[in-house]
């Protein structure tokens, strides 16, 4: 899906736990998620820390949308 969104001309980033799959299917901008059942959360953390963790992931994702890339890139 992310590849097709990018195809219409919109930068799109995929946040997912299994980076090799994102690479195989052809996502251009990839951010590694926390885990499969909770890609943007961590139930072990306090609510406040969890929101901070999410913000951090999203900042990385947003940054990935602002960078000019030539090939598939995993952003950290």
């Amino acid at each position: 899906m992310v590849k097709e969104i990018e195809r219409v001309g919109l930068p799109a980033v995929q946040i997912c736990a299994i980076v090799p799959i994102a690479l195989t299917v052809g996502a251009n901008r990839i951010v590694r998620a926390i885990a499969i059942p909770h890609p943007t959360g961590n139930p072990k953390l306090e609510k406040k820390e969890e929101v901070e963790l999410r913000k951090k992931l999203l900042r990385t994702a947003l940054r990935s949308l602002t960078e000019r890339i030539e090939a598939q890139t995993v952003f950290k």
């Binding site: 899906m1 992310v2 590849k3 097709e4 969104i5 990018e6 195809r7 219409v8 001309g9 919109l10 930068p11 799109a12 980033v13 995929q14 946040i15 997912c16 736990a17 299994i18 090799p20 799959i21 994102a22 195989t24 299917v25 052809g26 251009n28 901008r29 998620a33 885990a35 499969i36 059942p37 909770h38 890609p39 943007t40 959360g41 961590n42 139930p43 969890e50 929101v51 999410r54 913000k55 992931l57 999203l58 900042r59 994702a61 947003l62 949308l65 602002t66 960078e67 000019r68 890339i69 030539e70 090939a71 598939q72």
Partner: protein
């Protein structure tokens, strides 16, 4: 002929440990076969003996491939088997990926024949089809009875070092290996025959399929994030409580969009996951763990970007046909572009 010692890799489900709730378990050992291993033994007339089974949870394996592979390698090496088998994984993506990586690792590091089986939509296919034999299966366990004899038959041929037939004959995914064969008719004749068939609109089979590299040229980046409208999309199945539009738990036939302009947070009481392929406990407890609305709103308020788009798009990415997913992506992308969105964040589970 002596017995052939086999080590078999399975996920938590086929390893009879549990369902999605046990998908997080690290790799563990079981001496002897599981029921799938018993099927393999039986099919081989007990010529193959599964001496050890390695079981690992789907999530654990997919998230820690680099860590699970060496552990599996060590357990395989200990019993000095003649053959390594994994799966079949059918259409299960995490499982297929693990099967392929384990087979590839065992084959490359120990020089053992390694074999697995899965459906053509499985991302595990492209992971290892050049290195190992992967038998093609249907998309569900219903195909087990047909697949096991194929796995056993091909494994036997590899062990006996007899020539392996073409992919279509043996039922494995083409490995991109070229071998010389003597054809009955010379090339020019075959080419003309193919051309004639093509002109007549008949079906013909090419002798040299062209590789399909479906890569998309990266879209130009957002120039000024502070002025950009961003949209959230998820394959993780987050829907309003009760799943009003009935997005299917697997092989979703649709995507939906839901209004979020007045929302700052997704709560477990009002939203839930409709996805049938992962443990829903965490997402149902706090849907922001899959669709991160709360943190996105905070960043919007901080001015990191200008505005969050008024709707989010959702489908269930669970054994969903690639063609459907591609269409959903294209349509969603076109809608968003038309509505002035400049960047998309998509989460998947």
């Amino acid at each position: 002929m002596g017995r052939i010692k086999v080590v078999h890799y399975l996920n938590q489900f086929f390893g009879q440990i549990g369902g999605e709730d046990k998908a997080g378990i690290p790799p563990q050992l079981k001496e002897g076969p599981t029921p799938v291993g018993q099927l393999i033994q039986k099919e081989s007339g007990d010529h193959l003996e599964v001496v050890r089974t390695i079981i690992c949870g789907d999530n654990y394996a997919a998230e820690h491939l680099e860590e699970v592979a060496p552990a599996v390698l060590k357990w395989v090496e200990e019993v000095q088997p003649n053959l390594f088998l994994a799966g079949p994984a059918f259409a299960a993506g995490r499982y297929g990926m693990a099967c392929s990586v384990m087979c590839k690792t065992v084959h490359q590091k120990l020089g053992l024949p390694a074999l697995t089986a899965m459906h053509s939509s499985n991302p595990g296919v492209d992971e290892a089809r050049k290195e190992i034999y992967i038998i093609e299966t249907g998309d569900s366990t219903l195909d087990m009875k047909r697949v096991i004899p194929k796995m056993v038959g091909l494994a036997q041929k590899i062990l006996d070092k007899v020539p392996i037939g073409m992919p279509q004959q043996e039922g494995y995914f083409p490995r991109g290996v070229r071998i010389n064969v003597r054809a009955e008719k010379r090339g020019s004749k075959r080419a003309v025959e193919m051309l004639l068939k093509k002109l007549r609109g008949e079906t013909f089979e090419t002798e040299l399929p062209l590789p399909q590299f479906d890569r998309v040229v990266p879209a130009p980046p957002i120039r000024d994030l502070a002025k950009a409208v961003i949209a959230l999309v998820t394959e993780g199945g987050i829907v309003p409580r009760g799943n009003p539009d009935r997005i299917e738990a697997h092989n979703a036939s649709k995507y939906c969009k839901y209004f979020i302009r007045d929302l700052n947070d997704l709560t477990g009481g009002e939203y839930q996951t409709a996805h049938g392929g992962y443990d829903p406990v965490y997402a149902n407890d706090d849907p922001d763990r899959v669709l991160p609305l709360d943190a996105t709103r905070l960043l919007e308020k901080e001015g990191v970007f200008a505005k969050l788009y008024d709707y989010y798009y959702v489908t269930v990415g669970n054994v969903t046909a690639v063609a459907s997913a591609a269409r959903y992506g294209r349509e969603i992308g076109e809608h968003l572009l038309r509505d002035g969105v400049q960047g998309v964040i998509l989460t998947s589970t």
